[in-house]
Symmetry: C2
Subunit: 111 residues, 2 copies
DNA sequence: AGATCACTGAACCTAAAAGTTCAATGCTGC
DNA sequence: GCAGCATTGAACTTTTAGGTTCAGTGATCT
């Protein structure tokens, strides 16, 4: 399984609505820091920090182009997050099925 | 799509390795606060807080039983996180395919 | 060259997170 | 009823997050 630090960063990056909005926006195509900052009603500096967080998590890739910085999505880390969740999801489904059976059994006994 | 606050809480809850370990542990069956705190080398109070965060996120369900508190997994929120990720994952795959085509085109032009 | 535009770095502020200690509270077992 | 155990709540400390302002830096356009 993926290293803890990687998952820390990915989930932490996704835990902020502003950053999820950035990802949504980049899903429609690349954008500069300024283009991301404007609709969010945030300073360039503030937006830069969010993009940095996403980049550190491997969710976004950036590149300096002239005096702007192009930001694009970079999806390989998403697979990690997805893998973690779906692994436990399957495991939990089984466990919850087990619990259902257990409670059904208990109810039967109570009578 | 699910409300922002819900996703904030779920992703934020998952962004801590201690809490992911709790979920892993609970995947093997219910446990008390004490049983969770001991292997983590943490105080009961500290562990209680983590469990509270998971419970607020809807990832864990707890119930007072005698003088202990039983903690179990509660998976419906996982689906929300999963749904968000997989939606964008698919979207990104398409977009990245597009980018690959773009770069291939550029390389051709550079020659 | 000089003006301007987009971003960046440093410093700062405020609020929230992660953890602690210490003092209740409320069951359980004798 | 009393001792003891598991959890809880309040208060506190230290880091980290999210955001700002203000002063550079480097590219672009006359």
């Amino acid at each position: 399984m993926v290293h803890d630090v990687v998952l820390d960063r990915v989930f932490s990056a996704l835990s902020d609505a502003t950053r999820r909005a950035i990802i949504t926006r980049l899903g429609e195509g690349p954008a500069t820091i300024g283009e991301l900052a404007e609709p969010a009603g945030m300073t360039l500096t503030g937006m830069k920090k969010h993009v940095q967080v996403l980049e550190d998590a491997g969710l976004v890739v950036t590149e300096k182009v002239g005096r702007s910085r192009q930001c694009r999505i970079g999806a390989e880390r998403l697979d990690d997050a997805m893998a973690w969740i779906s692994f436990y999801q399957r495991l939990w489904e089984r466990r919850l099925d087990g619990l259902d059976a257990y409670f059904t059994l208990q109810k039967g006994r109570e009578k």
